[in-house]
């Protein structure tokens, strides 16, 4: 079945440094979503990417979808302590399925 690999599992940064997490799917995706889970909270939808090569920005967050629609990345510029949490990607396989496959998440720890 479809697999979505997400790296790294953990990332420690100093406040102000940049951060990137990567997702790679074993199959072509129709859509990829990104979620953030704060410590003690539940995953919250951030964004979805649909088009090949798509790039979307939300303030300091930049999301990319690969040309082949099999990989994606989330980049945070100049991290802040409020960015702490686990970031998950979730890929929807092409072909009409509505069951996403989640990556295992990247936990971001920001040191002040």
């Amino acid at each position: 079945g479809q697999q979505v690999m997400q790296i790294p599992q953990y990332q420690h940064v100093q406040e102000g440094e940049d951060f990137t997490t990567y997702c790679n799917s074993s199959t072509t995706l129709s859509n990829i979503q990104w979620y953030k889970q704060r410590p003690g909270g539940h995953p919250v939808f951030l964004i979805q990417l649909v088009k090949s090569g798509e790039v979307k920005k939300q303030k300091r967050l930049t999301f990319q979808f690969g040309e082949a629609k099999k990989n994606s990345s989330l980049h945070i510029t100049a991290t802040q302590t409020t960015d702490v949490g686990t970031y998950f990607c979730a890929g929807l396989p092409s072909g009409g399925s509505y069951i996403p496959t989640f990556g295992r998440g990247t936990s971001l720890i920001v040191h002040p």
């Binding site: 859509n31 909270g41 995953p43 998950f88």
Partner: protein
């Protein structure tokens, strides 16, 4: 705003008890999901429902069953709770527009279940 609510934030049950976890969404979504979340393992899909009375097994359905009698409500049942079912349980609902490709999943606050 989409609201997904779960019946309990914390639950402690004994081994062998029957456990019901309830989830309600208020956005008329077709699709509802039950996941469990364990450290280092991410989100694992237990069951999925795409319509009333319709369900599909996810990746780890053993030891669980589900019920969807109404569109807004999706229940997870542990027939005989065991200690290895101690976990965080997350319910979600989603809206999917085929052809357009829009897909968003909305999660409830979670139920932390401890089986002793």
């Amino acid at each position: 705003d989409v609201k997904v609510t779960q019946s309990s934030r914390y639950l402690v049950k004994r081994t062998g008890e029957k456990v019901f976890l309830e989830c309600v969404q208020d956005m008329d979504h077709e699709n509802m999901f039950w996941y469990r979340q364990d450290p280092g393992l991410g989100l694992r899909l237990i069951y999925f429902s795409y319509d009333v009375k319709m369900k599909e097994k996810g990746d780890i359905p053993e030891g669980y069953s589900v019920s969807r009698e109404k569109k807004e409500r999706f229940s997870l049942i542990l027939e005989s709770a065991s200690t290895n079912q101690t976990s965080m349980y997350l319910c979600a609902s989603s809206l999917f527009t085929p052809g357009v490709g829009d897909y968003e999943q909305y999660f409830g606050p979670g139920t932390r279940l401890t089986v002793t």
